[in-house]
């Protein structure tokens, strides 16, 4: 909900208060020596590579920062605990990270995991910054003052998708929706349905992605002009392959932003992936177009030098960008009157307006004490199968005006 927070959740400084915390003193205590960022994420199982890349990206960026003197002398450290994508273990991990490792900031990967830990982490007043989830629930500042999400909320993304579609199909069109049967997929699907309400777009088929082949055949039968994939990572490739095999080539195919990696998710599908559209907010280091971008060259150099072994993977870039965002917060917190503390970090996180260098120019990450905007602008891209690369398909679309 973007309805804004009520005033009483703001503290004296107008942003956030530690009064409700189990241990208010801990929240305001100054952080010295090292600032620990604790992760609970699936470093084993099918998502291990993705998670590993995010963390490598973050660690590389932190290493660079530490070399440059850290946050005013405070070193950054990452502590990772495996939750195997299991909410129970995430809950236990976060408890342990807070109580036993004494972390100052948390992060998690996946909506189910975030659900399982949010209450505990809010009660303990340990900021959970840039959670890797796209469900809208954690934009609710009143209920989750100590939690922010990194990924664009699914409804925001879908709103932008529909903006783009309106331009291409001013008189509307028919849409087929493929829905991943997880929290994340359902978030996208709900977001899309909400966004097309009152427009001329008509959803003529909705199929769950349990078996991509069956789904593809049924979606094809709808004869829709547009295919929207409310999917999660590997679904994107599977769906592309499946529609290729049933011989369906919709006019427009929209992939979710979490399917940003060309090499693993588009290239293998060959011709079938050609022309698919996606919204991006990150510069793509694998894309020739960014070869001369100073941020990208620096990123490639530094990340590789600091142990990230697949720097062009989009998850690595995400990890790096999240680290950038965190560092921005930490610096501002450290420079605040209260000095570097969990509370000041959270205050900084709630008052952020920053473009990490790896964000596409014109896209910033924004937070206000009353509204959690996050990423509100995207640049559309399409996949060029022949050139095996994404190509720009338009200007940055910014919908932040809708949220003011």
């Amino acid at each position: 909900s973007n309805s804004g927070a009520s005033d009483d959740s703001a503290s004296a400084s107008g942003v956030i208060s530690a009064d409700d915390c189990v241990d208010p003193d801990a929240a305001t205590a100054e952080i010295t020596d090292t600032l620990k960022v604790g992760w609970s994420a699936a470093t084993s199982g099918p998502l291990a590579d993705a998670v590993g890349n995010v963390i490598e990206g973050m660690e590389a960026r932190f290493a660079v920062e530490n070399e440059a003197g850290g946050i005013d002398g405070v070193d950054l450290e990452v502590i990772v605990k495996d939750d195997a994508f299991n909410p129970e273990r995430a809950k236990a991990n976060v408890g342990e990270l807070i109580q036993s490792e004494g972390v100052d900031v948390l992060d998690t990967f996946g909506s189910g995991q975030l659900d399982a830990v949010a209450d505990d982490q809010n009660d303990a007043c340990v900021p959970l910054l840039f959670g890797q989830a796209s469900v809208p629930a954690y934009r609710d500042i009143e209920n989750f003052p100590w939690t922010t999400e990194y990924l664009p909320s699914a409804d925001v993304e879908m709103e932008v998708v529909v903006e783009g579609l309106k331009e291409k199909y001013p008189d509307g069109a028919t849409v087929a929706l493929a829905e991943n049967q997880t929290e994340s997929g359902q978030g996208y699907a709900d977001g899309f349905k909400k966004a097309v309400e009152g427009t001329d777009f008509e959803i003529v088929a909705t199929e769950p992605l349990t078996d991509p082949n069956t789904a593809a055949s049924a979606l094809k039968a709808s004869g829709a002009q547009i295919l929207v994939d409310a999917g999660v990572t590997t679904d994107c490739l599977a769906l592309t392959q499946a529609i290729g095999r049933v011989g369906w080539k919709p006019e427009t195919v929209i992939q979710p932003s979490n399917c940003a990696d060309g090499a693993t998710l588009y290239e293998p599908a060959g011709e079938a992936a050609d022309g698919q559209q996606i919204l991006r907010w990150l510069k793509d280091p694998a894309n020739e177009a960014f070869a001369d971008d100073p941020a990208v060259t620096e990123y490639l150099e530094q990340s590789e030098a600091n142990g990230a072994d697949s720097p062009t993977n989009s998850y690595t870039v995400n990890g790096w960008a999240i680290a950038d965002l965190m560092i921005d917060n930490f610096h501002r917190a450290s420079e605040s009157e209260d000095g570097l503390s969990r509370l000041s970090i959270m205050e900084a996180a709630r008052t952020q307006d920053y473009q990490p260098p790896m964000f596409i120019d014109g896209i910033t990450f924004q937070m206000s004490p009353t509204q959690a905007f996050g990423i509100l602008a995207f640049q559309p891209y399409t996949w060029d199968a022949a050139a095996k690369t994404f190509v720009e398909a338009g200007e940055v679309i910014d919908i932040s005006s809708n949220y003011e």
């Binding site: 199982g45 099918p46 199929e207 769950p208 078996d211 069956t214 590997t234 290729g244 095999r245």
Partner: protein, 298 residues
């Protein structure tokens, strides 16, 4: 019509995949009297080996042969080193060993090759244009290969069990291994061969399936297939080769048709509906469609 054929083809293809793995399960069951819960992950592991060999620029067919051999050796070794020592003592313990293998093999594949999705090349042309058109529906060659492999395997295994001494001995060991040993059957070799065979069949299933599975080759590829395959094997009667094939195909087609035509069910209840139909049929035939009823006399 086109849609129906399309669904039918998808169902048959998915079904043959289930059937292949179900055959592997039946072979172990008929040869040793146990259900191998690690069958799917074993197949996955050997498929990863095949994939890895192709990335080392071995031809696909060599990779596949190597996978089959590895499957055989791994299967036999697992039986001898891990299953047999506990089987003598406790049946439930075998289940846990298999679960340990399940986690262990899957994670090991992750350790060695990472969790990213892999693209396993196909032995046969499998481009987007390599199909024959059936009233508008596309029948791809690689799907045909799977059907073909399934039929060949079914015939071979039937011959093995019906007409060879090895097959007779496998059935004897599965029935009562102590009694078979007493008759002079080399039980330990038979057990190892049974598991080896099923390991190889599983590997075959893996290498044929992944190129045409939309999900490609990832750490989770085999799980759903394994669930469906065990349902298929049980549905068919657990000790019946034909049953496994009929079971696999039935589940595949049921899934495709129910999802396609029964809008209330839709894809969301795909597995549920297929499994419950099977349970309903089990009510009528508690030993599966083709299973032999165990005679229990008092």
């Amino acid at each position: 019509m086109e849609l129906f054929l399309e669904r039918l083809i998808i169902g048959l293809t998915n079904g043959s995949v289930y059937a292949l793995l179900a055959l592997a399960l039946v072979v172990v069951f008929r040869g040793t009297g146990t259900l191998n819960f690690a069958q799917g992950e074993l197949a996955l592991f050997t498929t990863f080996i095949a994939w890895w060999l192709t990335t080392e620029s071995f031809p696909v067919w060599i990779a596949i042969v190597a996978a089959l051999l590895t499957g055989f050796v791994l299967g036999a070794m697992i039986e001898r080193m891990l299953i047999r020592p506990v089987q003598r003592r406790n049946d439930m313990a075998v289940l846990i060993v298999a679960l340990g293998l399940f986690t262990g093999l899957n994670s090991l594949a992750g350790v060695i090759w990472g969790s990213e999705t892999k693209i396993m090349p196909s032995l046969f042309p499998n481009g987007l244009d390599d199909y024959v058109s059936l009233a508008g529906a596309r029948l791809y060659y690689d799907a045909l290969t799977v059907w073909g492999a399934l039929i060949v395997l079914l015939v071979l295994m039937t011959l093995l069990f019906r007409h060879t001494k090895l097959g007779l001995h496998m059935r004897a060991v599965a029935d009562n291994s102590e009694s078979a040993t007493l008759a002079g059957v080399r039980t330990s070799r038979i057990l190892a061969v049974g598991w080896g065979l099923s390991g190889a069949i599983g590997a075959l299933a893996g290498v044929l399936v992944t190129p045409l599975a939309a999900e490609q080759l990832g750490l989770t590829t085999m799980f759903h297939i394994f669930i469906a395959a065990s349902a298929a094997a049980l549905f068919g009667g657990l000790d019946s080769l034909v049953g496994a094939v009929v079971g696999g195909i039935t589940i595949g087609v049921l899934e495709a048709m129910l999802t396609g035509y029964v809008s209330f069910i839709g894809g969301a209840l795909q597995q549920t509906s297929a499994l419950f139909i099977i349970v309903a049929i089990l009510f009528v035939r508690p030993n599966g469609l083709f299973g032999t009823k165990r005679v229990v006399r008092v």
